[in-house]
């Protein structure tokens, strides 16, 4: 499985050819700016035949989630709450999964991983 961490913005999804990516995970925080960009990225990715999944990151409360849903409700949304384990990981330069594999944020991302692995054909590139 190949996971590509793309450069920020929509420039890179715009350059994706149909079939280049099987799934595009669009990440948004509950801010107007990031939701706008996420919406655009999702539309562009869907037009390029990729399966689009959304991560709503650093969600504090219902208003935060509602803001993300308003723009991205058509897609499957994985909610990553504001997670002290991830915060600690960032401060210490650690992988969140190493700080705690059952922190709520990590659990949500593990569920996303299962969803990705379970969808469609899993091809192992000859590496």
């Amino acid at each position: 499985m190949v996971i590509g961490d793309l450069e920020a913005g929509i420039g890179t999804v715009l350059r994706l050819q149909p079939g280049m990516a099987d799934a595009v995970v669009v990440v948004a925080q509950p801010t107007a700016k990031s939701i706008d960009i996420a919406g655009r990225a999702a539309r562009i990715a869907a037009a390029r035949e990729a399966d689009v999944l959304v991560v709503a990151n650093r969600i504090h409360n219902e208003e935060d989630l509602a803001a993300v849903r308003a723009e991205l409700g058509a897609y499957e949304i994985f909610v990553v709450p504001d997670d002290p384990a991830i915060y600690r990981a960032d401060q210490e330069g650690l992988a969140p999964i190493d700080v705690s594999s059952d922190a709520p944020g990590v659990v949500a991302l593990t569920a996303l991983a299962s969803r990705l692995a379970g969808s469609g054909a899993v091809t192992f590139r000859a590496l």
């Binding site: 920020a8 913005g9 929509i10 420039g11 715009l14 509950p30 801010t31 107007a32 700016k33 706008d36 960009i37 655009r40 539309r43 562009i44 504090h60 208003e63 935060d64 803001a67 960032d90 401060q91 210490e92 330069g93």
Partner: protein, 267 residues
Amino acid sequence: MTVCPPLPGSDRRLRVAVAGKGGAGKSTLAGTLARVLARRGHRVLALDSDTLPGLALSLGATAPAEPPLLAAAEKGEDGRWRLKKGIGPARAVQRYAIDAPDGVRLLQSGKHTDTGLAPVMGAVNVFYKLVARLNEPAGLREWTFVGDLSAGPRQIAYDWAPYAERILLVVEPTWQSMLTARRIVRIAATPRAVAMSLVVNKASGQPDVELVEDFFGMSALAVVPADDALRDAERSGLAPIDMAPHSPAVAAIEQLADALAAGSLQA
């Protein structure tokens, strides 16, 4: 809100560029700082080099759908974009800048459309050309510039802020943010003398501040606390200075403006 009478002399005008990792809070800081300085009597030009939306929201400005600078651009015989005849930085600010509250003028690069940057490449190109010449016109000499340098180290390397006399490095208390800022410092080590100052953003207490200060071996010029009121403003897409003028974060940015003014008097 205190309104200070303008001080005489060009020493008081500031030339600041805000740099840092994506998401560190550059546009929010730049936009709020621009409004604060304008309220103190500066003539402020805000510069938005991002090809995605950001600074206008933090300023409380409404950006038109089509970038104004597109009208200032034309293709020459060689097929390259150039400024139309008679348009230089002063005229561009006069005609093609967007109005923001408190008299701030905003010059924006072209913004991505759903088909990409191609439709607005003219605006992107001439924005870069204008930014390179902002120090030229006598008419802009007294203006304060607050520029938002988007996207990490890249724009610093291309010298997207040749007007800057001070670069504000906005750093969150995370390793990603600190490493990026360190890369920026290394890349920006140019012969041209530009002061670099540290701003710790989204700090949740003294340990966060110490984490960043220890990493850089320097004191922060300002510390902007993590702030719920600011979060709410960000969620709504409103300017923090309008939605939460008395919040701790805005107060910290006002202190930053004080520190910049003190710094410029000493320079």
